[in-house]
Symmetry: C2
């Protein structure tokens, strides 16, 4: 590996131990976005507000101890919508985080679309980049609905990374001008899928991540993906773009 | 190690990854109490209520996946007292957890004493065992104040384990009829300290734990302590008492 630095653009650092954060750093992962998520649907808006404070104060502290820059991302995940979620939106406006995430649609039911649009409107107004989740089930269909929400709001393409793309969804996402997040994880993309995508579309507006967190095991999948691409003869400059530089520019870190 | 099963009576499972919970289980730790703690002082009582729901639903689920029985402990830690903490007490009364923890005093300021006593009164009324933290700083003095709170409420001794005891505090705690938690961790007790305590007082009303969690590294310290005691020739029956049986009885698991 040596000198390829990695920016893992989507993790949940809360689910990884202090020891594992150090291993990530020692393996070349130097920056991560730690996305807001709560493993049970919260009853109270305050739970998410305190979660954002935890990401901002405590997860960045754990990162520092590990030699890892943790960039907190605040947002209401579609599986984490509490009653009175408008209070969370008010806090987001007040706190102006560097990144909104992860937000998006899971089943695209009415409340999810409403919460997504409220967050996108705010991100547009405040000029904040967004990490937009797409689900495991019905990915193609829900991705379409997600793009529809973005377009209805005339959301600036350069502020949206559509994450967990598949071989099926990536083409349209890139064609419409969005960034695409390549999640290297069992059940999402394999290293070989990443190779296929980079060969077909080139490295622009692509960024890799692990989505590692509370239950997954593989917190070094981006490191393995980079090694695989190197082995397969992908050019160093291209690898650097998808492993670090695209994310660095997109998130302005 | 082989056949000595361990009950780690005080951890924060949220701070350990899925992978590490499996390692704990594979190393002989079969039951743990996962104590409520929030790494930044919560602003909202709902944050603690949702945290209890997370411990109850999600941490037990992660435990099952790892082959580890996770017993959730609910309570307001003295460093985690939110505004309107009475709402948390109401939830505790309503939800009737198996264990209250960790509760206790950190600096023994007025609000801490009030919150501790509210929880102890409820535990006495509902007959629920309590894990009672003592702090790193001023341990002897704060332990005295903790015992004073217990006695003012005529709290039943058999419902209180005073945790993180030191060589200095353990004697009085046992003499007064309480259980004592031996935390094997850098800065708390060494394996040699545990040996000294068991040789001096015998194994009754002692239980070992790691207090492993969000920032500490050593999630297998109880396993190492048990190996050390075996090496030093402590009788198997005594080790079993402090490693598993005392906790099992005290927490009624």
């Amino acid at each position: 590996m040596g000198h390829i630095e990695i920016y893992d653009s989507h993790i949940h650092s809360e689910g990884r131990s202090q020891k594992e954060l150090s291993e990530m750093s020692n393996s070349g992962i130097k920056t991560v976005n730690s996305c807001a998520f709560y493993p049970v649907r919260p009853r109270y808006p305050g739970t998410l507000i305190d979660l954002f404070r935890k990401l901002e104060e405590f997860e960045t502290y754990r990162g520092e101890k590990a030699g890892l820059k943790v960039v907190p991302a605040f947002g209401i995940h579609p599986r984490c919508i509490p009653e009175n979620w408008h209070e969370v939106i008010d806090f987001l406006e007040e706190s102006q985080p560097k990144i909104f995430g992860e937000i998006g649609l899971e089943t695209a039911e009415k409340a999810e679309v409403e919460v997504l649009k409220a967050q996108l409107s705010l991100a547009k107004k405040l000029d904040i980049p967004c990490i937009i989740h797409t689900p495991r089930g019905n990915k193609a269909e829900i991705t379409q609905k997600t793009l529809k929400s973005l377009e209805e709001l005339r959301f600036p393409e350069q502020l949206a990374v559509i994450d967990h793309v598949s071989l099926e969804t990536v083409s349209e996402i890139l064609n419409r001008g969005y960034h695409a997040g390549l999640t290297v994880e069992e059940g999402k993309l394999s290293e070989r899928d990443v190779l296929e995508i980079i060969e077909k579309f080139g490295p622009e507006r692509l960024m890799i991540n692990s989505d590692t967190g509370f239950t997954s095991l593989d917190y070094l999948s981006t490191v393995r993906a980079v090694s695989f691409l190197l082995e397969k003869g992908v050019e160093m400059e291209e690898i650097k773009r998808i492993a670090f530089e695209n994310a660095k520019e997109f998130f302005r870190v």
